[in-house]
Symmetry: C2
Subunit: 158 residues, 2 copies
Amino acid sequence: IRNPVRGIAHDTDVTRFTLVAVPDKPGVAAKVFHAPAEAKINIDVIVQNMGADGCADLSFTIADADYEKALKVMEPVAKELNAKKLVVDQNVAKISIVGTGIRSHPGYADKMFSTLASEEINILSITTSEIRITCLIERDKAQQAVKALHKVFELEKV
Amino acid sequence: IRNPVRGIAHDTDVTRFTLVAVPDKPGVAAKVFHAPAEAKINIDVIVQNMGADGCADLSFTIADADYEKALKVMEPVAKELNAKKLVVDQNVAKISIVGTGIRSHPGYADKMFSTLASEEINILSITTSEIRITCLIERDKAQQAVKALHKVFELEKV
Ligand SMILES: C[C@@H](O)[C@H](N)C(=O)O
Ligand SMILES: C[C@@H](O)[C@H](N)C(=O)O
């Protein structure tokens, strides 16, 4: 039976911005993402999880080269929204397992997370789609993560 | 020029589980997702954003029909991890804009979020992939959201 995981993707050219504790009400996400859109900054992963006490954290990733530009654009936005803080993390990398079978196979997330756990690699963020499970991890752990995942998912290194 | 957004997808058969404030260290995500994998529960969207004070929130969505089964499986896990709480939200729906052009067009997230904002629909969660921007919103707002997004992205209702 064909391996539902067809590859491991990784990207170390990743900088994460997080606006911590912005108001969790209509219009806030629009305000946050209008600024980088106007500045034509390419945004990759956007993450917002469940809020608490009327606030939520909004994160997004960009290429390292856009850091200065994004900081300039996001600092005033974070202020206007009264964000608790604006956090920038450049020590991140994006690791994904990719395959058409992923979502219908309940064990894949478990398998990916267990593999990173046994390598003692901390998972900083998780998002999924029908064909991909994506984690952010520390940048210096990227090669180790890719190697371990290739082994566990029995893939030829591509 | 072809419309990079080829459709609006929505799903109202969505229940969200969130383990609030679990330890943000290796092995935790694996522990959380091992249990539903063993119980063969199909998991759709997984979200984890940046942690704080050594803890992180882990969320996932399932079909409404799996609620009882998932609750039975997750309650002990939440206890063992000393989660601050286990939150279940059944009043959610998943709305996505789908299209191959999405990630390379900086304005799409802004456009989607602004549309929901002008409908006064609160965005409860956000995740993205190369071809999709997905939001969780309140279930009773799903039809209104789909209608508004179809209009804004100039799509034939499918
Ligand atoms: C936090 C942000 O997503 C807010 N809930 C909004 O709808 O814009
Ligand atoms: C919170 C959880 O993802 C943890 N960081 C882990 O690596 O398992």
